[in-house]
């Protein structure tokens, strides 16, 4: 599987063999092989949670491996820290940049090795000269003196890339670099990456967007559930084949959608304007309905939901519950109006990690489990036991700290919190992010069950197959506004993507065609 692939490029520079990594409750990598050669862009494709990022973090020294070997030009190397990786010329650029926001682009490029004249005195002139040389060499345009916090996300990414490559990096991994970029920014990124390839840099491109891979990359390695699913030459594969490798089963099985009868309108939002935003949003959702919200990162979906539950201020507009206008000033009021919100950031705002499973499950229903402020602990435990059983949360005991559970079981616990609260309208923000396929399917089944019970489910997801597979109706958001609406079965992934990016159809090449150079 290694250097035998007929490729016009040079011998492999990096080989990862039999890489294993175990997290509590999840085998994140089950003996994965991966090769990347100088002068190629090698895609690492897989669903969320397939192990792509973990594999690259291991290469970049940000995560340790439990087993396996890493070879550089055939020689085994030990990479135990990002510094080790850097000394071998390996770096990774993450989705969230690790730049110092208050320093300028030039300072960030040379941070830790600023040119000096005399002890500790920064030579600003040389800094700016060196920095502009680096950018010229890489053919990247950036405002050198601007603070990083003033840059767009795309510019920040370019800064990260330039910073890595200014440090003699020869192997560069990019973790889902386009997830927050506009179409033009993506084009510019691709231009830069192609240019780096021609300069002999080995590039690993982590993505779950097949179209991008077909357009940009030379080879693709597909991971599925922590396992090596296959390696292909991009020129000799199709989108269909890659989807099959990635999912490993037909989509129907993956998204076991069961339509439920629709009932009354449970929630209606009219001309709602989030504070500080320019757009007004209106939509409604009925009992038994799963309403999908698609859109790019930063399209304003999460902010809209935060506004609906009173977590951030609303400027104008009205929210109706069962036809009655309601005022929701804080999340507590939202719960009183039987609206629950499952956060997209499980660790920060979904779980109380130090609290037990039982205590997390009842966290949003404390009034229900107390009288005069004193907890009814028996009832609390009985309820928690029921939920653990119903949602099949795998835990050694109800008293286990929830931080100790696997991602999937953590997410089920957060969902269980809202099931316990018995809310009528449940907003799920990226409910399957970073959890394994098995747990995903269980969460989809739970969504079905909730819809059948006559709840309204609002499903926010950046993963298009999920939105398409689970929703009765889909709204697409872009720049804070709802720009398209599709009924179930009406839309394809491309339709959603075009609406979400605001692009004309003709500007993107059709997937499955021959790859471009």
């Amino acid at each position: 599987m290694t250097a035998t692939a007929p490729s016009a490029t040079a011998a492999p520079t990096v080989e990862m063999l039999g890489i294993q990594r175990h997290f509590p409750g999840v085998q994140a990598l089950k003996g994965v092989d991966f090769t990347v050669a100088a002068g190629e862009i090698h895609a690492l494709l897989g669903e969320n949670g397939a192990g792509k990022s973990t594999l690259m973090k291991i290469l970049a020294g940000a995560e340790r491996k439990d087993d396996g070997r890493i070879l550089l030009d055939g020689k085994e190397v030990r990479i135990a820290s990002p510094t080790d990786a850097l000394s071998h010329g390996i770096a990774i650029v993450y989705q969230e940049t690790s730049l110092a926001p208050h320093l300028s682009v030039a300072e960030n490029l040379f941070i830790g090795r600023l040119p000096t004249r005399g002890p500790g005195i920064v030579d600003w002139r040389r800094l700016h000269r060196d920095a502009s040389e680096v950018l010229q060499r890489l053919k990247i345009q950036l405002p050198l003196r601007a603070r990083v916090s003033e840059l767009t996300i795309a510019q920040q990414q370019m800064t990260e890339i330039a910073k890595a490559l200014s440090q003699q990096v020869k192997v560069l991994a990019l973790d889902e670099p386009t997830s927050a970029l506009t179409e033009t920014e993506v084009a510019e990124l691709f231009r830069v990456l192609r240019d780096l390839r021609s300069q002999g840099v080995a590039i690993v491109y982590i993505s779950h967007t097949i179209e991008e891979i077909l357009e940009l990359c030379d080879r693709v390695t597909v991971l599925r559930d922590g396992e090596f699913a296959g390696e292909r030459e991009v020129a000799r594969t199709t989108a269909d084949e890659l989807v099959r490798l990635m999912v490993g089963r037909p989509l129907v099985e993956m998204f076991p959608k069961e339509p439920a009868p629709l009932g009354d309108e449970l929630l209606r939002v009219e001309k709602l304007k989030v504070q500080g935003k320019r757009t007004e949003v209106s939509f409604s959702v009925r009992a038994g309905e799963v309403l999908g919200f698609a859109g790019l990162l930063g399209a304003g979906r999460t902010a809209l939901m935060h506004a609906i539950i009173g977590a951030i201020p609303v400027e104008s507009g009205t929210i109706y519950r069962r036809g009655r206008p309601v005022r929701i000033r804080n999340p507590q009021a939202a719960i009183n109006h039987s609206i629950g919100y499952l956060s997209d950031d499980r660790r920060r705002s979904g779980l109380a990690g130090l609290l037990s499973v039982a205590n997390n499950l009842t966290l949003a229903s404390l009034p229900q489990f107390s009288r005069a402020g004193i907890l009814k602990r028996g009832e609390e435990r009985r309820s928690a036991e029921g939920i653990v059983r119903a949602l099949r949360i795998v835990t050694p005991s109800l008293d286990q700290r929830v931080a100790m559970l696997s991602g999937g079981n953590q997410q089920k616990t957060v969902l269980g919190k809202w099931v316990t609260a018995g809310v009528e309208v449940l907003i799920l923000d990226e409910p399957t992010r970073g959890i394994d396929v098995g747990a995903k399917v269980e969460i989809y089944r739970l969504i079905n069950r909730l819809a059948k019970q006559g709840k309204a489910v609002i499903l926010l997801s950046s993963y298009l197959p999920e939105v398409l597979g689970m929703s009765d109706r889909i709204l697409v958001m872009r720049r804070g506004a709802i720009v398209a609406e599709f009924m179930r079965g009406e839309a394809t992934q491309e339709d959603l993507m075009f609406a979400a990016t605001g692009q004309e159809r003709t500007s993107v090449q059709t997937p499955g065609g021959s790859s471009s150079r």
């Binding site: 997290f23 804080n330 999340p331 109380a352 130090l354 205590n359 009034p367 050694p396």
Partner: protein, 337 residues
């Protein structure tokens, strides 16, 4: 003993990996809590052997009386620390409470119980200010209470002109009085501890405090009234600091504006030794009590064995560092998973 603690793997870690049964995980947690208590037993045992004066009713009673104020302050502090906060104003509240309660009795001829109530309530008032600064003005607790520490300390000095106020001898009921054979400070300590334990483990307020300390955003999005809970916690700490101030004044029958200087860090140290985490979400009343007891034993044992105060300070410092280092190791093991 600390070594034995350190050597123990991160609690829960093994529990999942090996699918550890229920009961073992439970025992492990208990051990985690009892760690400092075992340390107390070992130290107590050693002192019993080293000094014939240690295990006597008089001495043990003295130990408990001595630790009572720190323990009461620690009960309040543990609640604050559980919410990932901290209250540095405690020592100034102790001073102001003692000064005011004696002042109204001496100058305004209020009855002694009323004077004492004033002291306690003034503490609650400072707690309200701390709570509002933290929740409504959004100051970090460290800064907010650092400010009130200085301001309240200043007020105590201003209204007394820096001079101690001598109280009537009957002011000593809380400090020197007895309920049957038991000194009043011990009784108060027991009541405060029992109430504190009940609040933390049996009420929505306590549960909410843990939730806020574990994750503020989670608590907020789960509909917990975070501002109210935080203010309540700072008020409880204020009231307890007020009570502590009254006990101190009662014991020396003087309202001293310079009293309480050491109480601040001692209470925090007791809480931390008792296993609370300054990052919030963890801590127990029992732990705080054990921490206070441990500190008092070090001081009492030092006195009995004629170890100088300087050495006692040194030992206490080592104990604090060891306790927090243990906490850090435990946490890192927990987070790296």
């Amino acid at each position: 003993m600390t070594d034995a603690q350190m050597a123990e793997p991160a609690p829960g870690h093994a529990a999942i990996e090996a699918g550890e049964p229920y009961r073992r995980a439970w025992i492990r947690r208990l051990l985690e809590q009892l760690g400092p208590f075992l340390f107390v037993l070992v130290l107590g045992g050693a002192l019993t052997i080293a000094s014939p004066h240690f295990l006597t009713i008089t001495n043990i009673s003295a130990v408990f009386v001595q630790m009572s104020v720190i323990a009461i302050l620690a009960v309040g502090q543990v609640m604050v620390i559980i919410t990932a906060g901290i209250d540095l104003s405690v020592s100034s509240v102790v001073a102001l409470s003692g000064v005011l309660s004696t002042m109204v009795v001496v100058n305004d001829h209020w009855s002694i119980p009323l004077g004492m109530a004033v002291g306690v309530l003034v503490g609650g008032g400072v707690g309200v200010i701390n709570g509002v600064l933290v929740t409504k003005v959004h100051l970090p607790p460290f800064i907010a209470t650092l400010g009130t520490l200085s301001a309240v300390g200043g007020i105590a000095l201003l209204i007394t002109n820096g001079q101690p106020i001598a109280a009537p001898t009957s002011f000593d009921v809380l400090g020197d009085g007895q309920v049957g054979p038991i000194p009043v400070p011990i009784v108060l300590m027991a009541i405060v501890a029992a109430v504190g334990w009940f609040i933390l483990s049996r009420t929505t307020l306590g549960r909410s405090a843990y939730a806020i300390g574990s994750s503020y955003e989670t608590a907020r999005l789960s509909g917990i009234r975070v501002d109210r809970v935080l203010i309540a916690v700072y008020v409880i700490q204020g009231l307890l600091a007020g009570l502590g101030g009254v006990i101190v004044a009662s014991r020396v029958v003087t309202g001293d504006p310079a009293a309480g200087v050491n109480y601040n860090l001692d209470a925090i140290a007791a809480v931390v030794i008792g296993g609370a985490s300054l990052f919030g979400g963890e801590g127990t009343v029992i732990g705080g009590l054990i921490g206070a007891l441990l500190m008092e034993l070090i001081s009492n044992g030092g006195d009995l064995l004629n170890i100088s105060n300087f050495w006692q300070n040194f030992i206490l410092g080592v104990v604090i560092i060891a306790a927090v280092a243990y906490d850090q190791v435990r946490r890192r093991a927990l987070q790296s998973r």
